[in-house]
């Protein structure tokens, strides 16, 4: 029963959702909306489970004095501080000058932006490795990348302006993006679509059941 009941629920709900897509009737749409609301409500409740896990993990680190346990104190203090701020001023989200939103705009947002900014440097280092022409394919990749990069900025046409139209860097870059690149992307999209369909079918039919927590 521990397996049959969830599998039956999944089969019924999965089949209903698959056919619901084709039924525009408002009853069908209402049931679908109810299901979405349930998902949101369950998600909110599981957030407490997540926070419990977070507190448990960091409390364990502090109590056992694990490596860099001091950061766990910062995490727990920040969690408690923001929670208390939110509880004490329920309308703080609507007030940009509230302490909660001030902490958000002037502490959290800059930290997040800093992490995002690191991406530029990581792209540079990754590109350096990707464009090392060790093999024929890597050489082709490098040449394509150079043409596309130059073709997207003014210097591309500045260097190849003397060539007839259609052979300049910007034209070749556009061709590479519009044809070989788009064809490859669409091939991946078709594969992903079929993969999603098959995986969904496996879950509905109960062939794939690792999401239940393990094998057969």
């Amino acid at each position: 029963m521990r397996r049959e009941v969830p599998l039956t629920i999944v089969f019924v709900c999965g089949a209903f959702m698959a056919f619901q897509y084709f039924v525009p009737h408002h009853v069908s749409a209402t049931i679908y909306q109810y299901a979405l609301n349930w998902t949101i409500i369950i998600g909110i409740f599981t957030l407490t489970v997540g926070i419990g896990s977070l507190i448990n993990l960091h409390y364990d680190r502090i109590s056992k004095r694990k490596e860099r346990w001091q950061y766990s104190i910062v995490t727990l203090v920040a969690l408690a501080y923001m929670t208390i701020l939110g509880l004490l001023s329920p309308n703080a989200l609507q007030d940009p000058k509230s302490l909660l939103m001030t902490m958000y705009f002037y502490v959290l947002s800059p930290v997040q932006a800093t992490m995002f900014a690191l991406l530029a440097f990581f792209i540079a280092s990754a590109a350096y490795r990707a464009f090392r022409a060790k093999t024929l394919l890597a050489t082709l990749l490098m040449l394509s990348a150079v043409i596309v990069m130059l073709g997207r900025v003014f210097i591309g046409d500045f260097l190849t302006g003397w060539l007839p139209e259609g052979m300049r860097f910007s034209d070749v870059a556009r061709y590479i993006l519009d044809y070989p690149n788009t064809a490859a992307k669409r091939a991946i999209y078709i594969g992903v679509g079929l993969g999603v369909g098959v995986t969904t079918l496996k879950i509905i039919l109960g062939i794939e059941r690792t999401w239940l927590g393990g094998g057969k």
Binding site: H26, L119, A126, I190, L194, G195, E208, W211
Partner: protein, 434 residues
């Protein structure tokens, strides 16, 4: 003294013909006439500009003059009908353009749509539409299923607003099947039927060949390396929630990886972005340890929740990589801008990295920074490869046949295009040697 013969020849050859002389004599008159005509044209043109641009009163007068040349009338042929393939909350109203509604110098400034639940009742204004519009969809919860609605359309002229006659009754009715989706429905049935057929065939013991995928073959080696090095394995299930199929595929891979990890007596760390995903991952890893006969080795604290913010989550996972120095990193599921930040940090920390995602934009980043990458559908195929269960392998065959069908449809589309357009005619002419 007689001139030399060559001089006479030159004089004769340079003699101007008589008709040219006549034209030259008349030239001043021709030039005067041309100047007069040019002057007249310039004057008329300037006057036209003055009428068009200088004085709004003149403009209005012109509109009135033009209006008199048109017959002002309301929009004709008002038709209101239920919108098909909907939940029964929309009515489509169609009409013909009012006289004088055209792109250039339009006399109509717009249309007003009115609705009533009785042909003789009070009509309320529903919408105002620009010129050139011939259709309006009235939709929303204010329309009641089964109730009759009537519409009028008014054309707005500079002086008058003219109302059309009342349309026939339109009743919003819900439909039980969206007929526009019939091709998708048929394809779904065909694809599902093919998949089930392959699953049944595989269940009967038919051997199915599936091509090897390097990234999946490397899983066992990566776990073995971690065991030899005495370092943990990091499994990142991405930023998708549990309803995303890519995340579900990540669960299946996690189950196989966790079982191997349990067998090899290694440690696995799973930081989570979503609490629901965390709960499922805990169950998956716990079950994997149990099925490997080592339930006591499972530590729930190794499968933990971090945060639901993208970059704080990335920072936390990066910190785990640099502190724990895992021998192998798995990135499976949905990833966004954090993919390269994670993979590059993993590269710097010296881990073997295996990634799998269906997010097209992130695939190049993983290809560059990871040792192996499961691209798109390979992520979904991974669980079948890892399990080697006949039924699972059968679904891979269905995927392959789906791709064959997609290619066949594309070829058919190209053929239809070639035979039904001018491009096709040119192509056929070329084929025939024309």
């Amino acid at each position: 003294m007689a001139r030399p013969g060559w001089q006479n020849k030159l004089k004769q050859s340079c003699r101007v013909p008589a008709y040219l002389l006549r034209i030259l004599k008349a030239a001043p008159k021709i030039i005067k006439a041309a100047c007069f005509i040019f002057f007249i044209c310039i004057s008329v043109s300037a006057r036209q500009d003055t009428i068009n641009h200088s004085d709004s009163t003149l403009l209005l007068s012109e509109e009135r003059l033009l209006a008199e040349t048109f017959q002002q009338a309301p929009p004709a042929d008002i038709r209101a009908e239920d919108q098909p393939n909907d939940p029964g909350n929309a009515i489509i109203v169609n009409w013909n353009l009012a006289p004088g509604d055209n792109d250039k110098d339009s006399l109509v400034s717009g249309y007003l749509i009115y609705r009533s639940d009785s042909p003789d009742g009070d009509f309320e204004l529903v919408s105002t539409l620009p010129i050139g519009t011939t259709q309006f969809t009235d939709s929303g919860d204010h329309l009641v299923n089964g109730k009759r609605y009537f519409y009028k359309v008014a054309s707005v002229y500079p002086v008058d607003t003219l109302f059309s006659s009342v349309s026939g009754a339109a009743v919003p009715v819900p439909q039980f099947f969206n007929t526009r989706l019939i091709p998708i429905f048929l394809f779904m049935l065909l694809f599902s039927g093919t998949t089930v057929a392959f699953i049944i065939q595989a269940g009967k013991g038919r051997r199915l060949y599936v091509r090897p995928i390097a990234g999946i073959n490397a899983v066992d080696d990566a776990i073995g390396r971690a065991t030899e090095m005495g370092k943990p394995i990091l499994f990142v299930p991405g930023l998708g929630d549990a309803s995303r199929v890519a995340t579900i595929a990540a669960f299946t891979i996690l189950a196989r990886v966790a079982k191997k990890v349990a067998e090899y007596q290694t440690r696995i760390i799973v930081p989570n972005y979503d609490p629901v995903v965390m709960t499922i991952c805990q169950e998956v890893v716990k079950e994997a340890y149990s099925s490997a006969g080592r339930p006591d080795a499972f530590d729930p604290k190794d499968v933990y929740f971090v945060t639901q913010d993208q970059f704080p989550y990335t920072a936390a996972v990066n910190g785990t990589m640099l502190r724990e120095r895992p021998a192998t990193n798995f990135y499976m599921g949905m990833f966004y801008a954090e993919s390269l930040i994670l993979a590059e940090t993993g590269f710097v920390s010296g881990s073997i990295q295996i990634a799998g995602t269906d997010q097209l934009i992130q695939i190049p980043f993983f290809v560059v920074a990871c040792d192996y990458t499961l691209m798109g559908e390979e992520l979904y195929a991974a669980s079948a490869y890892l399990s080697q269960e006949p039924q699972q392998l059968g679904t891979l065959k269905a995927q392959d046949w789906g791709k064959v069908a997609a290619v066949a449809l594309m070829i058919a589309g190209v053929i239809v295009y070639l035979f039904s357009t001018g491009a096709g005619n040119s192509f056929m002419t070329w084929i025939m040697g024309g």
